[in-house]
């Protein structure tokens, strides 16, 4: 989140990424674990840096040659520093300091084109189903931020994707919101992920959810709460569902209610109860993030879908 508003808000960095590099964004929690060519290449590159223990996070920025030789590792968000390091890496690359055997790399590229992928981490949306964009925002309740980064988190709008199976889509077309979909929405998407990776809700923490379709209007309510009462969310649900033939033309849903508590990676929530809104809208595939797997499905697609 901070990277988006600092590092990647710097026009010179963006221009370099567009013209002089091939940029790739990954959830390293997948790549450092996955047992396939994708994971092997990532670990080969990251393993040359200081974060080579793949039992722990390897997050940061990496610059590598097409042969997988690491040119730079940096985990500093200062845009000026990163820009300087990127320019230095480019100079070295252009000078030929990282020359490589082109035939070997061509062979590696060819060999990895159609290899089997680790199915735990190479997730694709259910064929014939739907992808829905999910955005959340804390609407109020924060104290005055003490620094720039805190301000970024406080105004952040999060992003995740909800996957809907073909069977659930058929139910929607028939005017029903199936229980599996209601549970998935509650457990994995009614979360406060505006400051980092959130804890998802356990099944027993879904105290109540009901969501119905009434003449094209989605209406319902939800109550989520941990056993110890340290985190919870109670919200009203409302939206619209428009079906044309056998196509779901519109699926829009909003959850609006009071949230309280935080997770290990979502510290500095407002004190007490605060208003949290979560909005769902069909993805049209025009945003690269539409292809990103739901956070709740990471390494556990069956658990997410069922």
């Amino acid at each position: 989140m901070v990277d988006r508003e600092s590092t990647f808000a710097q026009p010179e960095i963006v221009e370099l990424l567009k013209t002089k590099f091939v940029p790739v964004a990954v959830d390293q929690a997948c790549q450092r674990r996955q047992k396939d060519a994708e994971g092997a290449l990532y670990r080969r590159i990251a393993g040359q840096g200081p974060r080579s223990d793949f039992q722990n996070t390897t997050q940061g920025f990496y610059i590598a040659s097409p042969a997988g030789k690491l040119l730079l590792y940096n985990n500093n968000r200062d845009p000026k520093k990163l820009l300087r390091l990127m320019q230095e890496s480019l100079r070295e690359y252009d000078l030929g300091s990282f020359a490589f055997d082109r035939e070997q790399v061509q062979a590696d590229v060819d060999a990895s084109a159609n290899v089997e992928q680790d199915s735990r981490y190479s997730l694709k949306p259910p064929a014939g189903g739907l992808v829905v964009r999910v955005h959340a925002k804390v609407l109020d309740g924060y104290k005055t931020p003490s620094n720039k980064n805190e301000a970024v988190f406080q105004r952040a709008i999060s992003r995740d994707n909800l996957w809907i199976t073909p069977k659930e889509k058929a139910d929607l077309i028939a005017g029903r919101v199936p229980a599996t979909l209601q549970r998935r929405i509650a457990r994995f998407h009614l979360v406060d992920n505006t400051r980092g990776e959130p804890p998802m809700w356990k099944l027993g923490e879904v105290k109540e959810i009901h969501l119905q379709v009434d003449k094209g209007t989605l209406v319902g309510a939800v109550h989520l709460e941990t056993e110890d009462g340290s985190r919870g969310y109670q919200a009203a649900l409302r939206g619209q569902l428009k079906v044309v033939g056998d196509v779901v033309a519109v699926f829009e849903l909003v959850a609006l209610g009071e949230f309280y508590g935080e997770g290990s990676y979502t510290r500095n929530a407002p004190e007490g109860k605060f208003p949290l809104a979560v909005a769902f809208q069909l993805a049209d595939g025009t945003d690269i993030a539409d292809a990103v797997a739901p956070q709740g499905a990471r390494g556990w697609l069956d658990g997410y879908l069922n």
Binding site: D3, F8, A9, V14, K18, K20, F21, V22, P23, V24, A25, V26, D27, Q28, A29, E38, L41, Y42, I45, A46, Q59, G60, F61, Y62, I63, A64, S65, P66, M86, R102, Q106, V109, S112, H135, A136, A156, I157, R159, D160, N193, R195, G196, E197, K207, E208, A221, A235, A236, R238, G239, V254, L256, G257, V278, A279, I288, A289, A291, V292, Q295
Partner: protein, 81 residues
């Protein structure tokens, strides 16, 4: 006094989730929030042609003779948060 205690006791037995906490989530409010919760399309980072696979990035980098820039985070940088 005893009657009051019984009433308080009954009130405590009512599940908390029956309370309406979101106020009136009207159709208008709903539309406003759908719009309000969209990330700005003009955000600079969204104009970067990110790839989602290191293998795909390596193939493109080789073809274009460019270095690869990897943005690796806990949680997907383009999603999650």
């Amino acid at each position: 006094m005893k009657r009051m205690l019984v009433v308080v006791g009954l009130l405590l037995m009512v599940p908390a989730y029956t309370r309406l906490v979101a106020g009136d989530l009207t159709e208008e409010r709903c539309s406003t929030l759908i719009t309000e919760l969209q990330p700005g399309n003009d955000a600079l980072w969204r104009t970067i042609p990110w790839k989602l696979s290191v293998l795909e990035a390596r193939a493109a980098a080789f073809k274009q003779d460019k270095p690869i820039f990897i943005w690796a985070m806990d949680g997907h940088p383009l999603g999650c948060t």
